[in-house]
Amino acid sequence: MSRRASMLFALVFAPAISLAFMSKAVAEEAQRWAVNMPKGATPVSNAIYDIHMIIFWICVVIGVGVFAVMFYSMFAHRKSKGAVAANFHENTTAEIVWTVIPALLLIVMAVPATTALLDVYDTTEAEMDIKITGYQWKWQYEYLGEDVAFVSELTTPEEEIYNTAPKSQYYLQEVSQALVLPAKTKVRFLITGKDVIHSWWVVDLGVKKDAIPGVVNEAWAYIEEPGIYRGECAELCGKGHAFMPIVVNVLEKEEYNAWLAKKKEEVAAERDLAKKTFTLDELMAQGEAAYNRSCAACHAGNGEGIPGVFPALKGSAMATTTGDYAAHLDIVVNGKAGTAMQAFGGQLSEVDIAAIITYERNAWGNSTGDLVQPLDVLKFKQGQ
């Protein structure tokens, strides 16, 4: 081998060979440079992958044929090569042939396409139901019939998003609480939206369905392998559209049952907590954390909102009149119809709501000194 050839060889193959010895690196590299749809982890995602590849290869074959003829004439029938133009401009036979052949091909495609769609739509005989509700900008998961529900929000810190801290591995793909599901179980998702339209998409599960206010859509998944699957909101839903990821944690059935039992205990404990009396400092500390999670996306971390879009809380009449927090409590619990202000009564615990209201009335220069207890929130909710 000449020196130049061996250098070329080294240049081309050395990275490939060294990569081959680091299988993890290879996997990561493959994910970074992914060019195709993943096969995914469910029968539906596999069916989708198969129909995708069938249509893709049909298109490739047609494309190669069509472009071959075109590039042949571009090359062979150049004027610079002395080509003289023929004068034909019609051929009924050819025109009929190239109308009929694509039509037949379409029929061939339509058969597997129909079968795959029937599969996607078959939500019958599900073993459990999860209700998924899209909010600006988080997901709520309810385990129907189990009395377990929670909100799942992005946990990637602002510092990573605004580049003042290095980005972690699961940047924008990490949440406060993953949706936990059992493996080898047919799960039906009932998907809806509370404010605007969202879309729940986990590529590996082959599930994407719009979450529309006033509509309950269905989808399903039967996941073979335990593991963590990550997804995103796929329908433009405002400024937090890119910041409401989905994480699905699939456990073996026994582990799942253990998790569910523990989760139920937590729910009960949280209910008891609502009856406790808190100090101002406790509520302010918890309120700041809860506010940043649930409110800061619109009203901003400093309570100033976004002029013309989201109102400021800092200095607002509702949050600065000492002793008069009924309206404040009402708007947080029930939201405000016709605006982006959602009803948090069903999303947050009484403790969180009390803490948030207390925080909002005593932070950023708002100084009512008001202390709203979880019990007040509970009474308000029960009283309406």
């Binding site: 994910q31 970074r32 440079w33 060019v35 195709n36 993943p38 995602s45 069916a47 129909i51 298109c59 494309g63 069509v66 472009f67 075109m70 571009m74 029938h77 610079s80 003289v84 133009a85 023929a86 004068n87 401009h89 019609e90 051929n91 050819a94 025109e95 190239w98 039509a103 396409a113 795959a116 996607v120 739509y121 605004y162 580049n163 980005k167 591995q169 699961y170 924008l172 605007v196 339209i197 998409w201 590529v203 082959g206 994407k208 369905k209 719009d210 529309i212 206010p213 006033g214 859509n217 995103e232 796929a234 433009l236 839903c237 400024k239 559209h241 890119a242 013309g308 879009v309 982006a340």
Partner: protein, 517 residues
Amino acid sequence: MAHGPAKGIGRWLFTTNHKDIGTLYLWFSFAMFLLGGTFAMVIRAELFQPGMQLIKPEFFNQMTTMHGLVMVFGAIMPAFVGLANWLIPMMIGAPDMALPRMNNLSFWILPFGFSLLASTLFMEGGGPNFGWTFYAPLSTTYAPSTVNYFIFGMHIIGASSIMGSINIIATVLNMRAPGMTLMKMPMFVWTWLITAFLLIAVMPVLAGAVTMMLMDINFGTSFFDAAGGGDPVLFQHVFWFFGHPEVYIIVLPAFGVISHIIPTFSRKPLFGYSSMVYATASIAFLSFIVWAHHMFLVGMPIGGELYFMYATMLIAVPTAAKVFNWISTMFRGSISYETPMLFAIAFVVLFTIGGFTGLMLAIAAADVQYHDSYFVVAHFHYVMVAGAVFSGTAAVYYWLPKWCGRMYNETMGKVQFWISFIGFNITFFPQHFLGLAGMPRRYADYALQFSDWNMISSIGAFIYGASQLLFIFNVIRTIRSGTPVSEPKTWEGAEGLEWTVATPAPYHTFATPPEVK
């Protein structure tokens, strides 16, 4: 006796001359193209790396929205109306458009419509941020306070389009030269005639959609508000009943342009003229009955899904026939590769790729994964940019010598072509990969595994953007100091009445109608 143009600014403000109005439309659309392109550069610069570097997510959404609105309604549509104004009267042997005063009005309300739209960027609350498809309730209950400017702007733009279409239909049906039967009309005229009917049919639907939004926002109705008994999905049905034909409104005149350029530089008549006409008409008809393929995930019953899937797949048949006809026109021709031909060939290749991904998207089951991902972004840019922008650029190079009597710089044109072609593919081809791997569209920020293809896509976008500066430079240079040409027929293989008049085309042409045999 015909007179020349008026002097000063009055010539442009009060003109009823189809060539002047065509020029106004073309310059306006080019200005909008640069504006929409600037928005695209902001988007791609922000997406160059993960994390928010330059702008905030709320402004990012305004950029994607304004990019879409400005490109569709400000750049592409007026560009083809401009071409129609310049060319249709000359192609059919008419002295001018049938309704010249309305022609003036339909142009001059456009700048006002877009001023309303663009001014929102400087207002409290910011510009429209709900995507160019402005789905309710994000665009109603949850819209910024400036949404009424957007609605009024859309009304004005729609009115302009409707007037333009009426004018084109009236001109084509009434003012053809003696002997020019419908089936002797040039393809560009045919495609525009059909497009004009599409516009008249669907622009009022768009007006209806934005009017219902206006009522929901300001007068307490609940057309699209589930809490008041309305339905957000209704909005999508109404929008896409407009939106899908809109896609063909953009691309049919582009087909027309390509059907002129390919025969000219192949020195061979267009293959299958009548099947081209029928294919165009079938595409236009089908465009009305496939709208819900944009809504496969809203929870339609399976019967609806299957119907819209099959109907959409059918569009492949007439579209494929068109591509086969263009290729058969080139086959055994005598082909030369001037800049317009390069753009036309690139159009055929890239539009066909966009057509293939369109067929893939039609498969409702596979659309579960494609829908609202970057795969869709790649698909429609292959259709819109390679379809409308490449053919528009080809048209400008092709007819510019006829318009201004000067020849553009061929080398510069070819350099621009190659930079555009390469930049375009670097920008949009990797977006297929991003979408398939799971990146949703309209994302201000993304997970780390999407970093590399996004960076490559952004680099491509900057290259493609820069190539447009070369285009405008070449055009202005041609108008000011290009080599004069005076032959009526600029191109050896060109056919049609517009190539029988003097070069540059006089201010008034065909004061007496030509005879068409």
